[in-house]
Structure formats: structure tokens, C-alpha cells
């Protein structure tokens, strides 16, 4: 009983010191690793994160989507649950390891999980993700990303993102007309972000090296384009 009581006390103390935060966002086009998941239409999003004082974190993110993959059920909502552990070194660099699981309402065949490791400084972060069953297929995928946030003036930042997907394409639906198996996809994003108290606004250009790279997931091609995001933090 003493042990249980001690655990409860620790949990209580930890809970009191933990931080719960979140965002609500509206985007003109939900881009996931460069690919439109909302058929180039607006989407609503929400996310929250729980940060334990010793470095554990967990959270969830949800977004409306418009997916109509060929020969599979469609979905209008994606949820990403994630958890991990992060530590800030004396050098100021944060290191982390974790995992996330992406689930699609009405299209569970697209669900998949991945693990990741990464490092971050205040204005730069990089991560590598690995999934043994990318979007529910039997394909393995690795994704690497580098993000830079360069302050310009007090409340304005330049955001840069570069991502690289290494994907071993194994189409379980058979041959898809017009779709070429793609193994390497690069996506990029360059945007300006303004912070005004609890609100953030970002205008970004998003590009992807192969516009039909995710056709089997979205049922749509993805042209390059401009995306606007309005978020509120809480």
C-alpha cells in the first residue's frame, strides 16, 4: 500500500507540474509531407500536447481530410496520436525519440504507425521517421525532415522545411493507371509566420517533387501551391 501511495503522490506531483497545451487551426489546404490531404480545400484542425516535467510527452492531433483512394473506402478525418521522450542537453540541443500512429475514420486500411528520432535547437530541428507498413501497405518507408525558423523581426519568422521520403512502393491494389511507382519524393515548404499574442498566421508555398506520389492514398494529384494557416494557441 505504501508503494501505491508513493506512486500516487509522485503522479500527483508530476501532474501538478505538467503542462497541457493545444492549438486550433484553419488551413486553406492540409498538406501532409507536401501532399494535399484535403483535396486542396480548407480543413479544420486541433491538437493538444501533454508535457511531463521529466521529459515524457504525449498528444493527439486531428484534422478533417478528403481522401478517396482508388479501390478503398474514403475518409474525412485523420487522427495522429503520438508519445515520446525528449531531453535538453547542456549544449541546448534537445534530443527525442518517440512514435506516432495515424488513423483514418472510415478507412482503417490506411492506418499506420511509425517511430522517430530527432534533434532540435530553438531555430532548427531534424527528424527521421520509419514505418514498416506505410499507410497500411506492406511497404516500408523512411522520411527525413529538416525545419528552420529564422526570426526576421520581433513577431515575424521565415520558416523553411525540406523533407525526403524513401518509399518502397508495393501496390496491393494492382496496377493503377497513370501511376508510376515512386521511391523517392522530396517536399519543401517556405513560409512567413506572424505571431500576435495567442494567434499565429502563416502564408507558405508548398511543393512536392512528384505530384502523383500519394495518389493511392488521396485519390488526387497534388500541384504545388500556396497555403494559409490561422492558428490559436491555448
Amino acid at each position: 500500500m505504501r508503494g501505491v501511495a508513493a506512486l500516487l503522490l509522485c503522479a500527483g506531483a508530476s501532474g501538478a507540474a505538467a503542462q497541457l497545451s493545444g492549438t486550433l487551426s484553419a488551413v486553406t489546404d492540409y498538406r501532409y509531407r507536401g501532399v494535399t490531404f484535403s483535396d486542396r480545400r480548407p480543413a479544420a484542425q486541433a491538437g493538444f500536447t501533454y508535457d511531463d516535467p521529466i521529459g515524457w510527452y504525449a498528444g493527439a492531433f486531428g484534422s478533417t481530410v478528403r481522401l478517396t483512394p482508388p479501390r478503398a473506402s474514403s475518409s474525412n478525418f485523420q487522427t495522429i496520436a503520438y508519445a515520446g521522450y525528449a531531453i535538453r542537453l547542456a549544449s541546448g540541443v534537445s534530443l527525442e525519440a518517440g512514435g506516432d500512429y495515424s488513423a483514418f475514420a472510415g478507412a482503417s486500411d490506411l492506418n499506420y504507425g511509425e517511430v522517430f528520432v530527432g534533434g532540435a535547437t530553438e531555430n532548427l530541428n531534424a527528424r527521421i521517421y520509419y514505418s514498416p507498413r506505410y499507410f497500411g501497405t506492406t511497404s516500408k518507408a523512411a522520411y527525413g525532415e529538416i525545419n528552420v525558423a529564422q526570426p526576421l523581426i520581433d513577431s515575424l519568422r521565415l520558416h523553411l522545411h525540406l523533407g525526403f521520403l524513401r518509399y518502397r512502393y508495393e501496390n496491393r491494389y494492382g496496377y493503377l493507371y497513370g501511376v508510376t511507382p515512386v521511391k523517392n519524393v522530396i517536399d519543401g515548404r517556405i513560409g512567413l509566420r506572424a505571431d500576435l499574442d495567442m494567434f499565429q498566421f502563416e502564408l507558405a508555398w508548398v511543393g512536392v517533387s512528384n505530384h502523383s506520389a500519394a495518389y493511392f492514398i488521396t485519390g488526387r494529384n497534388t500541384p504545388n501551391g500556396v497555403v494559409a494557416t490561422l492558428s490559436v494557441s491555448f
Binding site: S14, A16, A17, Q19, S21, T23, S25, V27, Y30, Q45, G47, T49, D51, P53, G55, Y57, G59, F61, S63, I80, Y82, G84, A86, I87, R88, A90, S91, G92, S94, L95, E96, G98, D100, F116, G118, A120, T121, E122, N123, N125, R127, N147, V148, A149, P151, S155, R157, H159, H161, G191, R193, D195, M198, Q200, E202, A204, T229, S231, S233, F234
Partner: protein, 425 residues
């Protein structure tokens, strides 16, 4: 002394005498902070940066959604302990956000701090301390060029502080002073949101460290090619321009900035009570390779705070009495330097001795960039050449440079078989 050097010195004397009649600066509209003695610094944990799939999320503390959560916690703490939130500043070097909260007059601070420190949401809490610069502005004092004492001309053939970033955490610097124009790579005001008005102490310190060389005006900084960062954390009071004050909060903000921007040398020509927040940030700066120089207040053992910290080079003016063995002595009298209003004047005090040491350290770092504080200490070890009775000697800059390069640094034409190897010109 060569004829040319004699002429230069005579011209400098004339120039300084010409401006001495206006060497006292005009009144500066320095802002007075709120009653800092009633303020406490409350540190809340800043979680390490990590994965978030929120739209457009990239990172960075100012855009991190968690800032709203910390604001919420701070507001709850303020309500619970009857405080008013004044300001806040992220300090990722310590993994905290520092909130400034003001206590009402009838609330004793020490019991408040003890109660707040028991709250699990609070990483640490302390009183807001005040610091004062350690200097006297003395514009008509007898000229004694420090360039001659340290043989700057010769040292500058070996090193000029090039590519060494020096943070002068002080009052506001006149960045467009004729001797400083183009020498300040970064200037920030951590006292208030207004444009900083040039102040005496900061301008004088910046000039001593890094005034432009060979521009036919004014003085030569000890490290004339160092990259100066003018970080305003202190403010002058209109009644006494030479008595600038700083607070725990403004110093901490400036230190965080210096750390973020790769300062290799940090000069603190100031002193005050022991301050845990400032001490922690200095420890981080040192751990990331910065050399910290601080003016010593010889009224206190080992020079007071922050000079007494183990990893800080404590420096006092050479005319102080009873300086502890751990305190270095540097020229602190009759130092010509830059002053606001495009003027020059004489200053004296440990503040300016520290500034000269910061310049010298920049030269040493220029020569050997990866030196630790301990290695710098060994390089600066003084030798007493004054005879009997022995007394503390001023740091021998030539010897320090010679130890660093392993060759003669000054008067080399008299040294047999040993010549300095010029690094920059």
C-alpha cells in the same frame, strides 16, 4: 617612443583636452523600471522541443503553443500568491521561462519565495536583485595611455580579436560614435521596448574593448577587430549618469541572448548581490565555451558577485587596495575612451579595467579559439617585477600573448632567435 607615436599621443592629448570642457554628458532620459525590490522571478519549466504534428508547427519558443499553457500557470500562481505578472522571457539555456511578478507592499518577500518554491509547478523562484556598474567617470584625469602599457601596437600585429564575438552587457552604447561606427554587430535593448539612448558607461566600455583602429580619430580598442555585441541590460539614472543599475531580469535576458548568439567573451562591468538565475546562466555560457570577465568590487571578499564565481575572471583597477589573490589587476586609471555625443573622455574604475581585460581575452581567443577559462587563467598568470616589498602586478598582456603563441610578442627585435608570427594584419 618613436616620433610618430609621440605625435599621435600629443594629438590625442590635445583632442581630449579640446573635448574635456564638454566631457560631462547631457542628461539621459533613462527609464526607471517598476519597483524591482518588490519583484520576484518565477521560473517555469520549458519542456524540451519535440514532435508536434500541429499544422505548420516548426519549433521555436515564441511560436510554441506551450507558451499559452505556461502563461496560464503563471496567471494561476499570480492569483494564488496575490502577485501581478509584469513580464516574461524564455531562457532555453536553462530550460525555463522566467516570469517577473510584483508583490504588494504588505507581502514579505522571503516567506513568499519559500512558499512559492514549494509549488510543484515552479522550477525555481528568487528575488529580483539590483546590480551597479563599478566605475567613476573622471574626464579630466591625467592622460595615461594603456596602449603603451600593454604595447597594443605590437600585440595587434599578432592578434586583433578578429572573428571573436564579445558581448558587452552594460548600459546603452552609442553605436554611431565615430570610433564605434560599424564595430557593433548586434545591439539589443533588454531594459525596455524603446530605442535605447546612448549612455556613458556602456559607450565607454564598448570603446575600450573594440574601438576602431587606424581611423584617424579617437582611440584604439584593445581588440579592434572583435565582433562587439552591445547588450543593454543596465540603465542610467538621470541624476547620476555614472551610476547605472541593472536587474536580475535584464541581465538574464542579455545573457540568454549572448549564449544564443555565440558570444565567446562576455564582459560584465558590474556587481551586486549573489543571484542564482544569473549564476546559472553564466555556468551555461562557460559550459558552451564563453570566457566571462567581471569587474571586482574589492569591498567584498573575492570581488563580490559575479566576479567571485569560480569560472569568472575577476578584474580590478590597478589602484585598488587589498585585492584578493584571485583578482587580476588591469589598468584602471586615466583611460581614454568613447563617450556619448561623439566625444572622448577619461574614465577610471574596475569597470574599465574589466573592459580592457575582456579585450585582451578576445586577443587570446583570436590566437587560440578553443581555450577554456582555466587555460586563460594560466596564460594570464602575473609575475611580480616590482621588487621589495612584493605587490600584485598588472596583467602582462605581452607575456600572455607570448605564452599563447609560444613566441615573442613585444619588443621582439631585441629577442635573439625568437620572432612573433603575425596572424593578421
Amino acid at each position: 617612443m618613436t616620433i610618430l607615436a609621440a605625435w599621435r599621443r600629443a594629438l590625442l592629448v590635445l583632442a581630449l583636452l579640446a573635448v574635456s570642457s564638454i566631457a560631462r554628458t547631457q542628461g539621459v532620459e533613462a527609464p526607471e523600471p517598476s519597483a524591482t525590490t518588490r519583484e520576484v522571478l518565477v521560473m517555469l519549466r520549458l519542456p524540451p522541443l519535440h514532435f508536434r504534428p500541429d499544422a505548420g508547427y516548426i519549433g521555436g519558443y515564441s511560436t510554441q503553443s506551450g507558451s499559452a499553457a505556461r502563461q496560464r500557470i503563471a496567471e494561476d500562481l499570480a492569483t494564488r500568491f496575490k502577485l501581478r505578472i509584469v513580464n516574461n522571457w524564455p531562457m532555453p539555456a536553462l530550460g525555463v521561462v522566467c516570469f517577473v511578478m510584483e508583490a504588494p507592499e504588505d507581502l514579505p518577500l522571503q516567506p513568499l519565495i519559500e512558499r512559492m518554491s514549494n509549488d510543484a509547478r515552479v522550477e525555481s523562484v528568487q528575488a529580483m536583485n539590483l546590480f551597479r556598474v563599478l566605475a567613476h567617470d573622471d574626464p579630466l584625469y591625467r592622460l595615461q595611455p594603456t596602449a603603451g602599457l600593454w604595447h597594443l601596437d605590437e600585440l595587434h600585429r599578432v592578434a586583433t580579436g578578429r572573428n571573436v564575438r564579445v558581448a558587452a552587457i552594460d548600459s546603452a552604447v552609442e553605436v554611431d560614435h565615430p570610433d564605434l561606427r560599424g564595430r557593433i554587430v548586434l545591439a539589443r535593448n533588454f531594459v525596455d521596448a524603446r530605442d535605447a539612448v546612448a549612455e556613458v558607461h556602456g559607450t565607454a566600455v564598448a570603446g575600450i574593448i573594440g574601438a576602431r583602429a587606424d581611423n584617424s580619430v579617437g582611440i584604439v580598442g584593445v581588440a579592434p577587430d572583435a565582433e562587439l555585441m552591445a547588450l543593454r541590460a543596465c540603465w542610467e539614472r538621470p541624476a547620476d549618469e555614472s551610476a547605472a543599475v541593472c536587474s536580475s531580469f535584464t541581465l538574464a535576458k542579455a545573457l540568454q541572448f549572448a549564449i544564443d548568439n555565440g558570444a565567446k567573451v562576455i564582459n560584465l562591468s558590474l556587481g551586486g548581490p549573489h543571484d542564482r538565475l544569473v549564476e546559472r546562466l553564466l555556468a551555461v555560457a562557460v559550459s558552451r565555451g564563453a570566457i566571462v570577465v567581471a569587474a571586482a568590487d574589492t569591498r567584498f571578499a573575492k570581488g563580490g558577485f559575479p566576479a567571485s564565481l569560480r569560472d569568472v575572471l575577476a578584474v580590478a583597477a590597478d589602484d585598488v587596495q587589498d585585492a584578493a589573490e584571485t583578482i587580476y589587476l588591469a589598468p584602471g586609471r586615466d583611460i581614454p575612451t568613447t563617450l556619448p555625443g561623439s566625444r572622448w573622455g577619461f574614465v577610471r574604475g574596475s569597470s574599465y579595467a574589466a573592459a580592457q581585460m575582456a579585450g585582451l581575452v578576445a586577443l587570446l581567443v583570436d590566437l587560440a579559439p578553443d581555450q577554456s577559462t582555466q587555460q586563460i587563467r594560466e596564460t594570464l598568470s602575473t609575475s611580480d617585477r616590482s621588487g621589495t616589498p612584493p605587490r600584485r602586478a598588472i596583467v602582462d598582456a605581452c607575456a600572455a600573448v607570448a605564452r599563447t603563441v609560444g613566441a615573442c610578442a613585444c619588443g621582439c627585435r631585441f629577442a635573439r632567435g625568437v620572432t612573433a608570427t603575425p596572424v593578421h594584419y
